[in-house]
Every structure is written in structure tokens, then in C-alpha cells.
């Protein structure tokens, strides 16, 4: 059993200058118990397709899927 004893004395921050906080990131001044940050960014080389413009694949039961509205998606009957 591990006992972790924290004594929070004065927490005073003068100034913070940040250019960017990226996806699934955090900037915090204070306490936190549990942090889980996940970021998945998929741009593999094969994602660049140079050739005839084939349509992007449709999933099974595409009429029930969440597509982009107003972009040619078949509306549910």
C-alpha cells in the first residue's frame, strides 16, 4: 500500500504565455485526480490518392449512418 501525502502550499503563477494548446491537451493551474488524453490522427501515405476520383466508401446501412448533411446524402424515407 502506498500512501501519498500532498501538502499544497501557496500556488501563485505570475504569467503564462502559450502559443497553442493542441488536440486533446490541457493547460491547468490547480489540482487534478485523473487525466486521460487520447489523440488519433490518421494521415498515412496511402491516404493521398492521385488518380481517377473514385467515390469514398459507404458503410453498411449507409442510410442510417451519420453523414454530412446537404452533401448529396440520401435522406431517410
Amino acid at each position: 500500500m502506498i500512501h501519498f501525502h500532498v501538502v499544497n502550499h501557496c500556488l501563485s503563477v505570475g504569467g503564462i504565455d502559450v502559443l497553442g494548446v493542441s488536440s486533446a491537451s490541457m493547460l491547468q493551474v490547480g489540482d487534478n485526480d485523473y487525466v486521460a488524453l487520447y489523440s488519433m490522427f490518421d494521415t498515412p501515405p496511402e491516404s493521398v490518392i492521385i488518380g481517377p476520383l473514385a467515390p469514398l466508401p459507404e458503410p453498411e446501412r449507409a442510410e442510417l449512418s451519420a453523414g454530412e448533411p446537404g452533401s448529396g446524402r440520401k435522406e431517410k424515407q
Partner: protein, 145 residues
């Protein structure tokens, strides 16, 4: 936890942008769950003729989280945390942020549980250009004046 809950005192904040599914907060928060799904499609084709794009077509958006195995926690040897706050004030003078991207959090204060999830699939698709130029046009360009 001994002592009072800490309070945050902010002097000056300057935020230019906080994008979608992000949070800027001063004070306490119990639980944060920022989540972003994005399909970034670049195609040399009109929206009306290109058809729709579906999240369900790509495994990235349904992939489970990686499992964190903590043998000590699983066997019941959890870490017990005790906090004492003799000084209850969190004092921040100045925060300047240019941009906070998706599913991110900016906070001065206490939080108990933070879960941020960002999943972006990037697709680029371009039409193929002609492989060779006409011989006459190339030779004309190469000829000295």
C-alpha cells in the same frame, strides 16, 4: 482532504480562440469529457457530385482506447492520496493563449476527472495530371532566345 477547497483568483486572461469541444474555465469542475471526431477531406471535386463521407467507414472512429495495465491497482494495492491545503488560494496573474485546439481544456482551478478524445482522419484525393508534355512545347521553352 484536510482544509478548505481551494479557490482560484485570476488577474487577466487573453484568449484569441478556443476551438470546438474545448473548455476554458476558472473554478472547479467535477468531470470533463471533451470528444472530437473529424473527417478532413480534400478532394478536387464538388460537394454535390462527390457524395457523402461517413464516420462508420473508417475503423479509426470505433477503435477502443489502449488498455492501461496497472497490476498494483488490480491487485488491490491502490495508492491512497491525502491532501492538505494550508494555503487555499490559487493565484494567477496573467494567462495569454493564442489558440486552444479541439478537445482541449484550459482551467485554473480544481478538476477531478479529465478525459479528452480527439480522432481525425485526413484524406487527400487529387486527379491525375498528364504525365508528359507535348514534345514541341518543351523544346520551344528550352531553346535559347
Amino acid at each position: 482532504m484536510n482544509g478548505e477547497i481551494r479557490t482560484a483568483v485570476i488577474g487577466f486572461v487573453y484568449v484569441v480562440s478556443a476551438a470546438s469541444a474545448s473548455a476554458v474555465q476558472f473554478g472547479d469542475r467535477g468531470e470533463t469529457a471533451g470528444r472530437l471526431r473529424a473527417l478532413a477531406v480534400q478532394r478536387a471535386e464538388d460537394h454535390l457530385t462527390a457524395g457523402s463521407v461517413y464516420f462508420e467507414s473508417y475503423d479509426l472512429f470505433s477503435r477502443p482506447y489502449p488498455v492501461l495495465s496497472d497490476e498494483a491497482f488490480d491487485s488491490g494495492n491502490a495508492v491512497t492520496v491525502r491532501r492538505d491545503n494550508p494555503c487555499q488560494r490559487i493565484s494567477v496573474g496573467c494567462i495569454r493563449v493564442i489558440a486552444a485546439s479541439s478537445a482541449s481544456s484550459i482551467q485554473a482551478g480544481n478538476n477531478m476527472r479529465l478525459l479528452g478524445d480527439s480522432r481525425i482522419k485526413h484524406i487527400r484525393q487529387y486527379p491525375k495530371k498528364a504525365a508528359f508534355h507535348a514534345l514541341g512545347s518543351v523544346s520551344q521553352q528550352l531553346d535559347p532566345p
